[in-house]
Symmetry: C2
DNA sequence: CGTACTTTACTAACTAGTTAGTTTAACTAA
DNA sequence: TTAGTTAAACTAACTAGTTAGTAAAGTACG
């Protein structure tokens, strides 16, 4: 078909096909979970035959794990970048919080995988999460803790339980997206309007700026700066799973 | 068998059987979702034949909706009670926040249903949520808003965006339980220890007490009082889906 | 010629839902 | 009191459909 015109060597073509399969698998698993995903749909979306999935990945679960790990790797790189910027600890914490929100917006597939994986984990069925904890969240958590404690000992941040504040930020971010489809029904306002998204980003950063800094003036200034030079990512609404309205209307 | 010795009339036995089925269905659907739930398992857990499910409820989805609505009704009654107590608006907001946490702990099945239903809603497949929005969350939201605005105009609360603060509280509460299985792997501390639960409840109420009251002293006192006369519910750990450790060890 | 695929045709396992029949309790007529 | 009748409650066994995964033979192409 038209999909294989660009690459020439067999190795290139192969890598391209593999990537296409992984991409299709990520969408499917994110929307339906491991059990609910259909291998036929993945094959169709990738533009290949079902048998080819088993040629590259030995099983449905193998494909799932490959897609999951690929996505997790991207998450780790992105979050690390925010946590390791050459600015003060407090500013790194602010940037990390905002980046977390933007990341869910930009890589919503991972959030879908996580939601499903949390359910599986609570039943003791998850194989992906231990890898994730060891290679992604564990390391990130350690750097976050170190950053926060550096901020406390340097006098920039107040001596607050970093886990409780992290929980509040991540919880509010994650819940914003989890509950968005219901908020759309509860409310008049659409949570994926640019206005609503901008308000949430602002509230998030300004709240943290007030809550964890010794010098609240300094916190407010940092919040302002972080917001100013982190533009809201453009929302590709038709890629969001929440955006079914326009598909039918 | 021994299950039918207590009730005598057929009507009583029938109602008892129906309730047993609904109870089993709630556990199953909560843990596995509508698609993942197995009718055979529900029948086995209820101690009846599978065909009886279809005798009482016409389909798998009918059974699902019946179980969902039963559970939702309990949630509404409980949350209404917290919002309508004869105390000041600010105290009602505090009690509602704490009650929300305790409610998830006590009625975790509903949270499981909601998690799965949010996923379905984002794909436009949910029939349960519109009922829920109309009959439960919509009315609760209105009372919450009115309570908050009453608190603002009486001068007890600061003039803050009630939706953003509600999002922070509910988000942190929900995320605490969603992420608990992963936190157990990330952390040394178990999030279902009495200590961790007590700390979270305390942080939650004290944070709100500081965040939304004009008179922070008053907020702190209220937080203290609310915590004091709302004892933490006893956690039936073996009913939690998170508690797989002791089942095997 | 070998690598990267496609095509077709399977199967084994599983699951929602059905059917046809049995048991139980309560009521009725002799 | 009791034998007969009925309706509701319940069951065992099956059907029909779906889905992951396989096998084998073949094609396109550098």
């Amino acid at each position: 078909m038209s999909t294989s015109q660009s690459a020439h060597s067999p190795a290139e073509r192969s890598a391209e096909t593999r990537a296409r399969i992984l991409d299709a698998a990520l969408s499917e698993f994110s929307a339906y979970g491991l059990a609910g995903a259909r291998t036929d749909r993945i094959a169709a979306a990738a533009g290949v035959n079902k048998a080819l999935l088993y040629y590259y990945f030995s099983s449905k679960e193998g494909l799932y794990l490959a897609a999951f790990e690929l996505s997790a790797g991207k998450i780790r790189d992105r979050s690390m970048a925010a946590l390791l910027k050459g600015v003060s600890p407090g500013e790194r914490i602010l940037r990390t919080a905002l980046d977390h929100f933007d990341r869910i917006l930009a890589q919503h597939e991972f959030q879908g995988l996580m939601q499903q994986e949390m359910i599986r984990l609570s039943k003791g069925e998850s194989k992906a999460i231990s890898i994730l904890v060891d290679r992604v969240f564990g390391p990130l958590q350690k750097i976050y803790q170190a950053t926060f404690e550096e901020g406390i000992s340097s006098g920039e941040l107040i001596s607050v339980d970093w886990k409780q504040s992290q929980l509040a930020v991540i919880g509010a971010n994650v819940f914003y997206f989890i509950s968005a489809p219901m908020m759309r029904q509860l409310d008049v306002a659409d949570p994926f309007d640019d206005g609503a998204l901008a308000l949430r980003r602002k509230s998030l950063v300004e709240f943290l700026g007030q809550a964890i800094f010794q010098d609240r003036q300094h916190g407010a200034e940092l919040a302002c700066r972080v917001l100013a030079d982190t533009p809201m990512p453009a929302v590709e609404r038709d890629r969001l799973p929440f955006w079914r309205k326009h598909e039918r209307a």
